[in-house]
């Protein structure tokens, strides 16, 4: 035990000697020293990569992603030249050389510990980057993914601001192409739609090597391709229509006030951006997103006004609202008076607007259990309670002061 102590003691003495030799501040250096290590040979970027990077094999397995990811810290942030651990006054560096006629000398100033504390705090905050909590309203279609999320209005163009516009991402995916010298080249493809909520909208697909640039570029390009879409009563489409692009077929139906958007999520997002509030849409065939967007926009652009339909068919168009007890509103009147005898075959309006297409309506399949004995028994059991909730409600309604 004592020997061990002695050994360490002597070792420390030896060490001290060595240091004495290596760092002689008041002696000329005779020994040849190589003050180099990877620490001062490599740039900061490379050193940080050594700490934070994941091996190639690891990357392939998807390591180094997500919340536990290490991030390089910029140690220069918060530091200024002339201010260090020892707070000193350096004339010409962090203070003027003359104050009035008096020459200022290099001197110590009062200790300030909060500077170092501030820098450390800043470094700590840099390391663990956390995603900002998103308002449930602003969430996208799924998780923390981009599709469905808003990326703000398009950038200003020469002081022209587009504050009334809103852009939403519809598709954000990685695409590859083969290059002669680079092999598989990876890019990000973003499809987004922008609109002012009042009938002006555009969409664009953009590919870029970075997600952020792709988002920005697609947003701005969509703003350059605006299409004017006239809205019926400022809330819905003019009439039911059928539209297709490729193998994607969409049936859209005009709906009354308060119906909402009952359709594919992409169409819903587009409608919100355009300003359509009530619509029902059914997609048949392929649900390729790019095709849905294109087909829907084509359909919107091909809408006819009531007056146009009336002139085409030589028939009056009327609307009967159930909320107004069947009040008949004339929406379009043909320019020329139709033939006096009614030998014109009156066509069905829906058939006309859908281009004689008929929506496939599948027969509703009842669930398998409704023919089982157990289900029947349950129904018999529940029958006596079927009006219980209303009875309770009525009883409570009468009990008030």
């Amino acid at each position: 035990m004592a020997r061990l102590l002695f050994q360490t003691l002597s070792l420390s003495i030896l060490k001290n000697d060595k240091i004495w030799l290596v760092h002689p501040t008041h002696m000329l250096p005779y020994t040849s020293l190589r003050n180099t290590s990877f620490f001062n040979r490599l740039p900061a970027e490379d050193i940080w990569r050594g700490v934070t990077a994941v091996s190639n094999a690891g990357k392939k397995r998807g390591r180094g992603k997500g919340s536990g990811k290490k991030v390089a810290k910029d140690l220069n942030r918060g530091q200024t030249i002339g201010f260090g651990k020892k707070s000193c006054l350096w004339p010409g560096l962090n203070s003027p050389v003359f104050r009035g006629n008096e020459l200022i000398h290099q001197q110590k100033t009062v200790e300030g510990t909060d500077r170092e504390y501030g820098i450390n705090k800043l470094r700590d905050s840099m390391g663990n980057f956390r995603l900002m909590k998103l308002n449930p309203i602003d969430r996208g279609w799924s998780g923390s993914k981009m599709p469905g999320r808003s990326i703000g209005p398009p950038d200003t163009v020469s002081e022209e601001e587009f504050t009334s516009f809103d852009t939403r991402v519809l598709e954000n995916k990685i695409v590859f192409i083969m290059k002669g010298n680079m092999g598989r080249k990876r890019r990000y493809s973003v499809l987004s739609v922008t609109g002012n909520g009042n009938g002006l909208a555009g969409f664009a697909t953009v590919k870029a090597p970075e997600v952020r640039t792709a988002l920005r570029m697609s947003k701005n390009r969509a703003a350059q391709k605006l299409i004017n879409i006239s809205l019926c009563e400022n809330r819905t489409i003019y009439h039911d229509f059928f539209t297709a692009f490729g193998k994607t077929k969409i049936y859209c139906f005009q709906k009354p006030d308060g119906y909402g958007l009952i359709c594919h999520r992409a169409i819903k997002t587009i409608c919100k951006v355009i300003g359509i509030k009530d619509l029902h849409a059914k997609i048949e065939g392929s649900t390729n997103l790019q095709h849905i967007v294109k087909a829907f926009f084509i359909g919107l652009m091909r809408q006819k006004s009531f007056q146009n339909i009336a002139t085409e068919t030589d028939l009056n168009i009327v609307q009967q609202q159930k909320s107004k007890i069947g009040y008949t509103e004339v929406k379009g009147i043909p320019l020329s008076k139709p033939a006096p005898f009614s030998n014109i075959q009156v066509i069905d309006y829906m058939h006309y607007t859908l281009g004689n297409k008929i929506v496939l309506k599948k027969k509703e399949v009842s669930p398998f259990y409704i023919y089982t004995k157990g289900h029947e028994l349950k129904q018999i059991k529940n029958e006596r309670f079927r009006n219980q909730i209303n009875v309770r409600l009525n009883k409570l309604v009468k009990l008030y002061v």
Partner: protein, 205 residues
């Protein structure tokens, strides 16, 4: 302003503060943004918030045993504190249910308040703000839950109310209609004049 009223205002502000934990970030951000606006009422509200800081450590924000009168609630719905929290939206528009998987369960939770305390992390729009009192006199609140098209009470799948609160809402709306606080479209009644005037008057009528 009367001191009593001032105390009340500060109470309201602190209430919204405490319930804000349950509210979403956006509204808080908006609250803060609006708090900066220096109109007379909001300055009062922020003043109240300052007072609330000391108070907030005291009472339990999840406690719901205190009985709040309807009159207070009706005044709250008109106050600046309410406007800060909800803006122009309905009480339920910014609320989202928490659930696993793609689709929410068909029914909402049975109740948010158990044994006088909020028993969940995401209480429904009425339960989270104790100053929203469901009562037949509180028409301003009830109207937010009635569809302008069908005239019915909106479904809980749309508003996110818990089952108990939804039932209380139904009762309150029925009572409000019965006592004439809320108007609705009364079904049309067609009269058969013969029933009242006899057969011989038919031609005249």
């Amino acid at each position: 302003m009367l001191p009593i009223v001032r105390v009340l205002y500060s109470g309201l502000a602190s209430a919204t503060r405490s319930s804000r934990g349950a509210l979403h970030t956006a509204s808080v951000v908006r609250c803060k943004a609006e708090a900066e606006a220096t109109d007379e009422k909001s300055s009062e509200a922020t003043e109240g918030e300052g007072d609330g800081d000391q108070v907030s450590s005291g009472p339990d924000p999840k406690d719901r045993t205190k009985n709040i009168p309807v009159e207070t609630s009706m005044r709250y719905l008109k106050s600046a504190a309410y406007k800060q929290t909800y803006g122009e939206d309905f009480v339920w528009t910014q609320y989202r249910r928490n659930h696993k998987g793609m689709f929410a369960p068909r029914k909402t939770r049975k109740t948010c308040i158990r044994q006088g305390r909020i028993a969940t992390g995401n209480p429904c729009p009425i339960c989270r703000d104790e100053y929203l009192v469901l009562d037949y006199r509180n028409t301003e609140l009830l109207e937010q839950f009635i569809s302008p098209h069908s005239g019915d009470v909106l479904s809980y799948s749309q508003t996110g109310l818990c089952q108990k609160t939804h039932f209380r809402l139904m009762v309150a709306v029925q009572q409000a209609r019965d006592s004439g606080f809320l108007t609705y479209d009364v079904p049309f009644r067609e009269y058969d004049y013969n029933e009242y005037y006899g057969q011989n008057e038919k031609q005249k009528a």
